[in-house]
């Protein structure tokens, strides 16, 4: 039974490797990738149900008993994120068939795509800090391949910066693991949590914790380390931007969530720091979104304030706020993917990414326009959509704990986010139709509809999903669950 845990990592890895040999046969590659993802969705959903009913599932690879070997831990949070990741990947895959040029598709797109899923799944499932670094590298390697796919001037220029910034943060990660190993003598997360709890979090451990936070904040695009994100996420083809925006930064957030609810929970200075940084991240990110007329860049900038909201939940650190963070994480993955794909469709429809040169899509593309409207409302957090539930939990917990200023900052940021997406709505969808408006293939709207439907279900069916999220938050707030299930007392 516990061998099932490795399937979501192993399957895309193997299939991705096999597809290297069939790169010219696009139809075959499409079919195989679709089947792979369907198997992945069903197996991870089964895993989610199993873990919800029977508790955390552990796989000790190669029969090395924890804490000596690398272990995979499928707990509530990991499985929930796994299912979401695979659903989003499936929608992006459907979008790829009609939107990506065949030259890029032939150039190993599907291999990179599956390797990206491998890395993301592995990062969610691993229970070992150094192994987390390895899976980070796997997903980064895949993303290096995807971001430069096509090799245009701008792509090469931005990829170089993207690779460099990620390389430097990876080196920092290795250095941090070395420090942590010298202080605690282990890299297994559960054992780390146990030992840090035993000796108390002294100054040196807090320093290491903040260094680790800097690494994850670079990957997750927090203030002041988000400067690389908007440009490099808006340069590649839309479907790749959607994958990056939905998955990559969220892995950084997941790592912060895992490490700072499990290992470094004994010193409140880190969590106070998170609240400050969350405020700055929200405000500056949304100001960036208001500053540009390139619609892809507007959506890329909108990733940043969302990360701020999630950090707010980790900083407040009560059961309610962690539940809010987890819920917001799920919602944001879905809605960001949907928005990127929508913006891609809008760019195809109007033939430009410049807001000032578009207009009148409501007359020519009604379905696209209404989908965009719903996705925009979801992003901002208008009830009854999914953004509302996450934001409600986060702001409620912030008010309860007395963080009034940050809660008000969050509310103001939501308004500014609304302004930034409504600018797209007014510029591209209202107004007189421009002559350059082209037809969008209907098959592009199918994956977008799927994602929008998923996010509506997250919102309207909130009461069915919330017990899972609540259980995950309860598990996270009390690290002894995790430690006991890994080390078995």
């Amino acid at each position: 039974m516990s061998n099932l845990v490795i399937l979501p990592i192993l399957l895309p890895l193997l299939i991705g490797a096999v597809l290297i040999f069939f790169n010219k046969k696009i139809v075959l590659a499409r079919v195989i990738t679709t089947i792979t993802l369907l198997v992945n969705i069903s197996s991870s959903t089964y895993l989610l149900a199993y873990v919800y009913n029977n508790g955390t599932l552990i796989l000790e690879t190669g029969n090395w008993v924890a804490p000596f070997g690398i272990i995979l831990v499928a707990d509530g949070l990991a499985t929930l994120l796994l299912v979401t990741t695979n659903l989003i990947a499936f929608a992006c895959l459907l979008y790829t068939f009609r939107s990506l040029d065949s030259e890029r598709e032939q150039f190993y797109f599907y291999t990179f795509f599956l390797m990206l899923i491998t890395g993301v799944s592995g990062a969610f499932l691993t229970g070992d800090l150094f192994n987390l670094f390895v899976f980070f590298e796997v997903l980064l390697m895949a993303s290096y391949g995807l971001i430069v796919l096509g090799g245009t001037k701008a792509q090469l220029r931005e990829s170089l910066k993207y690779v460099l910034i990620n390389l430097i943060s990876s080196i920092l990660f290795v250095i941090t693991v070395a420090f942590l190993y010298s202080v605690t003598g282990t890299v297994n997360m559960a054992q780390l949590a146990e030992r840090v709890g035993e000796v108390g979090q002294s100054g040196i451990l807090t320093t290491i914790a903040i260094l680790l936070f800097v690494v994850f904040a670079t990957k997750g695009a927090l203030f002041p380390l988000y400067f690389w994100l908007p440009k490099s996420y808006s340069i590649p083809p839309t479907v790749i931007s959607a994958l990056f925006g939905a998955l990559l930064t969220k892995v950084g957030v997941y790592s912060i969530l895992r490490v700072f609810t499990l290992i470094f929970v004994y010193d409140s200075i880190t969590h106070d720091l998170f609240i400050w940084l969350a405020g700055f991240t929200m405000v500056l990110g949304v100001l960036g979104a208001l500053s540009t007329n390139n619609i892809k860049l507007i959506i890329a900038y909108n990733i940043i304030p969302a990360i701020g909201f999630m950090m707010l939940g980790i900083g407040v650190f009560t059961a309610t706020s962690i539940a809010g963070t987890v819920f917001y994480l799920l919602h944001d993955m879905v809605v960001k993917a949907a928005l990127f794909l929508l913006v891609g469709a809008i760019i195809i429809a109007s033939g430009t990414s410049d807001l000032r040169k578009m207009g009148g899509l409501l007359a020519t593309h009604p379905l696209l326009s209404w989908l965009f409207f719903i996705a925009a409302l979801t992003l901002v957090g208008i009830p009854p959509f999914s953004g509302f539930i996450g934001k409600l939990l986060l702001l409620k917990s912030a008010f309860e704990e007395g963080y009034i200023i940050i809660a008000i900052t969050g509310l103001v940021t939501s308004l500014l986010i609304l302004l930034s997406v409504i600018r797209i709505f007014i510029g591209a969808i209202w107004g007189k139709p421009v002559e350059t408006n082209k037809k969008v293939p209907t098959s592009l709207l199918l994956p977008i509809s799927l994602l929008v439907l998923l996010s509506i279900m997250l919102g309207v069916g909130g009461e069915y999903i919330y017990p899972y999220v609540q259980q995950v938050a309860d598990q996270l707030i009390d690290p002894s669950n995790y430690i006991q299930s890994v080390l078995k007392g």
């Binding site: 590298e137 290096y144 170089l160 690779v163 290795v174 070395a178 890299v187 860049l297 990414s353």
Partner: protein, 112 residues
């Protein structure tokens, strides 16, 4: 010995950071390579530089060298080797397409 190795590692970090702050792409890449060397040296140092038998269980031997840092370094070396080679190719292509290897000129504009 650990103190000496830590200082060496620190010097490598300093050299790497100095190179990262240059304008030519190639110097920056060499800087990242030196930085990763510093990180590897640090892992080795942090695992305590004590002498002992290789970590294979035999009768009559009680003192073993710590195998974990070695495993970590091997993994990390392979990754940094891969990324560095990728970066070199990327830099070459970037230079060919953009006709410059100066980071100052690789800024880009808003609407592309």
């Amino acid at each position: 010995m650990e103190i000496f190795m830590s200082i060496v590692s620190g010097c490598l970090v300093a050299a790497g950071v100095y190179l990262l702050l240059q304008r030519q792409i190639l110097k920056i890449i060499i800087g990242t390579a030196i930085l990763s060397h510093a990180a590897h040296l640090l892992i080795l140092t942090m695992g305590k530089l004590d002498r002992g038998a290789p970590p294979i269980i035999k009768d009559g031997i009680t003192k073993y060298a710590d195998p974990l840092p070695q495993a970590l370094i091997l993994t990390s070396i392979v990754i940094s080797f891969g990324v560095t080679s990728y970066l070199l190719v990327l830099a070459y292509r970037t230079y060919n397409e953009n006709r410059t290897d100066n980071m100052e000129q690789l800024r880009g504009t808003d609407n592309e």
